[in-house]
């Protein structure tokens, strides 16, 4: 379905680009208010300890210190991303009875400058009683393991006024020690599927904790003004989500909190959760009566702002002789760290990123998240997709080899098609998976580059370097029901014929300000430069679900489209009278309203707006709103996987070409060929940027990145020790969008910025196998693992 567009679908320059190349873009850390204090957090040096006493008297009497707070100031300030009767919130702004990981927040100070604040932290005396700690999720589940959370909180939720049940009928963590969440999803007849299988494989995979590494360290500025209004500038991905949680924690009406606009310097999932430092900034401001800024150090960002969940995955798969998946049994265990965060979500999502890709009629999925005394896991670009796609597509590659088939052909036999209905009821109204795989195979030169199954790969190529190719596929939702559920937009026309777009979206690099302005301009027949964007401010812009769950293009985009359509409707109604034509006969373009086919019967938009204001006072303000899955008012069940979840899924396929140095064990990603189905791309250059960023992050997680723990301590909390890709690692990139149209999205658009990250891992692992015949099942694929596997292969050969 090809449509002709004037603004949408063009690689127009970003509307935030000028501010960003000139240093004018204001991030939270750049905010400076009169009398502003510097806040700092005292953190636990122990992985598990009881707090016996805290003495803040010396810190409080240090000149320049304006406020000191401890757990006594935050006794009832409990919160968490998952906050339901089944999974009650388990984190407090400051530790109450005990600390549960190295980095846990114990106290906070606000002082006139950073040096004084640091000196005050050094003066706080905390007496700890060290408790036995547990770091491994399997050890943590043993009956004799230390309990990370000793008491169960009452099963209440901050979401009750939004329909969450008051009590839960079941508890997830009965019997098993330290289990923070559990998901069990079954459909079909798994036993029968395995009984009838031609071939069964059972494999184990492991992935490491990785860090988001947004270049902007997390920061918050809080100012409780004398009228009682709390002003916030935050490193966030959704201002309305954070405002709601912070309001509940502080027991304030939501509208008494004003989250101001700030550009966000990258997020990748790490700025979604509300963090203790944000609550502390607000409480310190209240206590000191002055604005407070807290800027986390890079080390704090690495250790206390969530990590990708380290995951253990077992997959047992039954296939027919021609490679069709008959049944699958998947078990996952994640190290949740000290607080629940999104642990129960990620174990639900592992299945969520499974069902939309390959059709599996008989499934048993079991996921468990486990508290340990480690840093906390959380959402990170793809939230669970990299882990599960790595495991599933690595195993599918192994199955294809077992059967003597080309893995790309095995994928094509199993992938979902348009019209498929998923086990939870979601319907694929667009699905370009087959095209993505076919085009990635064609453009990458897959067939010519691939080693045939069973061939002696080590004999191919000369010298110490061998090349290989691998393929993987993935998916991502385009928005899901989570507070604030909906997006709304306002488009206001001006008497100069231009327009202002008001949207609650947070611009964190994804390009929403630009793509949403393109949608507005397209509807109104204006140029991109005619649209002024006001975004991400709770007092200036309407509600937005936030830039997580990948709903930006589909949900926010469609709300904005509807707002522009509403403004256009008003515009045409006024013009129709003056032009003496029916509304249906009018069209907009080039800043004018014309009778279709009659360029002599036109009015400029500027004229229409002036006329409207002069005659009726209506300045022409359009509004629109959109909700994912309108008509449903409940979340899908995290524990059972039932319930619809989204209107549209994005899809991708990628072929990775690698070079393995058999002497050093080093793997280099040479080329990534990525084809994606994001519906109609709103701005191809921005889409390309999202894909390139995903490939790079996926490459890092496949080959380089790993948070190293030593008894709960993050050993590599600097960019020097935690290596992420640099320009020296950038592969050649190829690919593009496949022809697709998503009816749920504006002009056919859907998700693109998140899913792509997930397929690079298996694509690389499979390419390494293709190159040298070794199967690495734990990430990252480091030189020592490669050399050990090569040595083992040589020995058994």
């Amino acid at each position: 379905m090809t449509q002709e567009f004037k603004v949408v679908g063009k690689s127009l320059p970003r509307v935030d680009a000028f501010a960003k190349v000139t240093g004018q873009a204001q991030f939270t850390v750049d905010v400076s208010l009169p009398g502003m204090l510097v806040g700092k957090i005292l953190r636990s040096p122990h992985p598990h300890a009881r707090i016996v006493s805290i003495d803040t008297s010396a810190a409080e009497s240090l000149p320049g210190v304006k406020a000191v707070i401890t757990g006594r100031d935050t006794t009832d300030m409990r919160f968490a991303f998952v906050d339901t009767p089944r999974y009650p919130a388990d984190q407090n702004a400051l530790a109450q009875d005990k600390v549960r990981y190295i980095g846990d927040e114990v106290a906070a100070v606000a002082a006139v400058d950073a040096e004084t604040a640091q000196a005050a932290l050094d003066l706080i005396r905390v007496e700890y009683e060290i408790l036995p700690a547990v770091f491994d999720p399997f050890e943590a589940m043993r009956p004799d393991a230390p309990k990370v959370h000793e008491t169960e909180h009452e099963g209440t939720s901050i979401w009750e006024q939004w329909g969450a049940q008051k009590t839960s009928t079941s508890r997830a963590n009965e019997k098993v020690n330290n289990v923070s969440g559990r998901t069990i999803i079954t459909y079909g007849d798994v036993d029968a599927a395995f009984a009838s299988a031609h071939h069964i494989r059972e494999d184990h995979f492991e992935t490491s904790a990785t860090a988001h590494c947004a270049l902007e360290p997390h920061a918050a500025v809080a100012h409780l003004d004398p009228s009682g209004k709390l002003h916030l500038w935050l490193s966030s991905m959704g201002i309305y989500y954070k405002r709601y949680v912070i309001a509940k924690v502080l027991k304030m009406p939501t509208s008494q909190i004003h989250v101001h606009k700030a550009y966000v310097g990258g997020a990748f999932g790490g700025k979604m959760d509300v963090y203790p430092y944000e609550i502390c900034a607000a409480v310190l401001s209240q206590k000191a009566g002055r604005p407070v800024k807290i800027e986390l150090t890079r080390q704090e960002v690495f250790t206390t702002t969530r990590l990708r969940f380290p995951t253990y995955i077992d997959i047992k798969t039954a296939v027919s002789a021609d490679g069709r998946i008959l049944g699958q049994h998947i078990r996952t265990v994640v190290n949740n760290g000290a607080y629940r965060g999104t642990g129960p979500v990620v174990i639900f999502l592992f299945h969520g990123w499974t069902a939309p890709v390959y059709r599996v009629d008989n499934m048993r999925y079991e996921g468990v998240s486990v508290w340990t005394n480690s840093p906390v896991g959380g959402p990170q670009r793809g939230h669970g997709a990299p882990q599960i796609r790595f495991a599933i597509d690595s195993q599918l590659d192994m199955i294809a080899e077992d059967l003597g088939l080309d893995p790309s052909e095995v994928m094509l036999k199993n992938v979902r098609q348009i019209g498929d209905v998923l086990p939870n009821g979601d319907v694929l109204k667009s699905c370009g998976l087959t095209d993505c795989i076919s085009q990635a195979v064609n453009v990458s030169g897959w067939k010519g580059k691939r080693g045939r199954p069973g061939s002696n790969r080590l004999a191919r190529a000369n010298g110490t370097k061998r090349r290989g190719v691998g393929i993987s596929t993935t998916t991502m939702i385009s928005g899901a029901p989570y507070y604030p559920f909906a997006s709304a937009g306002i488009v206001q026309l001006h008497d100069d014929g231009r327009a202002t777009l008001l949207t609650g979206v947070v611009e964190m690099g994804q390009g929403s300000e630009t793509t949403l302005a393109q949608v507005t301009a397209e509807v109104l027949g204006l140029r991109l430069e005619d649209i002024h964007v006001v975004s991400g401010d709770t007092e200036q812009t309407p509600v937005d679900m936030g830039s997580f769950l990948s709903g930006g293009a589909t949900v926010t985009g469609d709300a904005i489209r509807l707002a522009a359509v509403d403004a256009k409707r008003q515009l045409l109604e006024i013009a129709s009278e003056r032009l003496d034509a029916l509304v249906e006969e009018l069209e907009v373009g080039e800043g004018r309203v014309c009778v279709r086919g009659r360029p002599d019967r036109c009015m400029s938009i500027s004229e229409v707006v002036r006329l409207s204001i002069k005659e009726t006072g209506n300045p022409i303000i359009g509004h629109g709103f959109r909700k994912i899955l309108s008509g449903t008012d409940h979340y899908p069940s995290l524990a059972k996987g039932t319930g619809r979840w989204t209107d549209a899924y994005g899809f991708n396929a990628q072929v990775a070409e690698v070079e393995v140095d058999t002497e050093t064990g080093l793997v280099k990603l040479l080329r990534a060929t990525t084809f994606h189905d994001c519906g109609q791309p709103l701005n191809p250059q921005i889409v390309e940027g999202q894909v390139n960023g995903c490939v790079s992050t996926g490459q890092g997680q496949a080959l380089l990145e790993q948070i190293v723990y030593d008894k709960g301590r993050v050993v590599n909390s600097t960019f020097l020790d935690y290596r992420l890709p640099t320009t020296m690692d950038t592969p050649e990139t190829a690919g593009g969008s496949v022809e697709s149209f998503e009816p749920a999205g504006p002009f056919g658009a859907k998700e693109v910025g998140e899913g792509v990250v997930a397929q690079t891992l298996a694509a690389i692992a499979n390419a390494v196998y293709d190159a040298v015949g070794i199967r690495i099942t734990s990430l990252p694929i480091t030189p020592d693992k490669v050399l050990a596997a090569l040595a083992e292969k040589k020995q058994t050969a």
């Binding site: 690689s11 190349v21 240093g23 850390v29 750049d30 990258g266 490939v695 790079s696 950038t730």
Partner: protein, 162 residues
Amino acid sequence: MKLLVSLNVNGQSYDLALAPHRTLLDVLREDVGLTGTKRGCDDGDCGACTVLVDGAPITSCMMLAVDAQGKAITTIEGLAVNGKLHPLQRAFIDHGALQCGFCTPGMILTAKYLLDENPHPTDEEIREGLAGNLCRCTGYVQILEAVEACRDGKVAAPQEAQ
């Protein structure tokens, strides 16, 4: 104890009383009031705080402000002349070489030094020249394209609407 220091930033002179331990990064952001220079790590690892000191790129979190006295400091705010963007700034816009924008000032200044020193770099020399500046958003692809578009003294033409 504070020292009286005169800093030359973007051609303007700033007379400041500074504690000697303060970094150039902090002083630029807090005392001079130019927040375009970003703190990404405060360890000299990420390159986000890069400024040019006598034309050479310096991670300003690793330099004491007092040591910058008598030197010409260029920050991102000083790159455009009379409102006219530097060709690299233009190229970053045209090639979509920025997303969140937090690494962008340091990246552009490092690229400026690279091209000032070697106006005809190879692709590999551009990669090496930018290897000290981290970016998590772009995967560097469009950044490399933008810098490549500016080598050999080329000035990117404003992108035409497609």
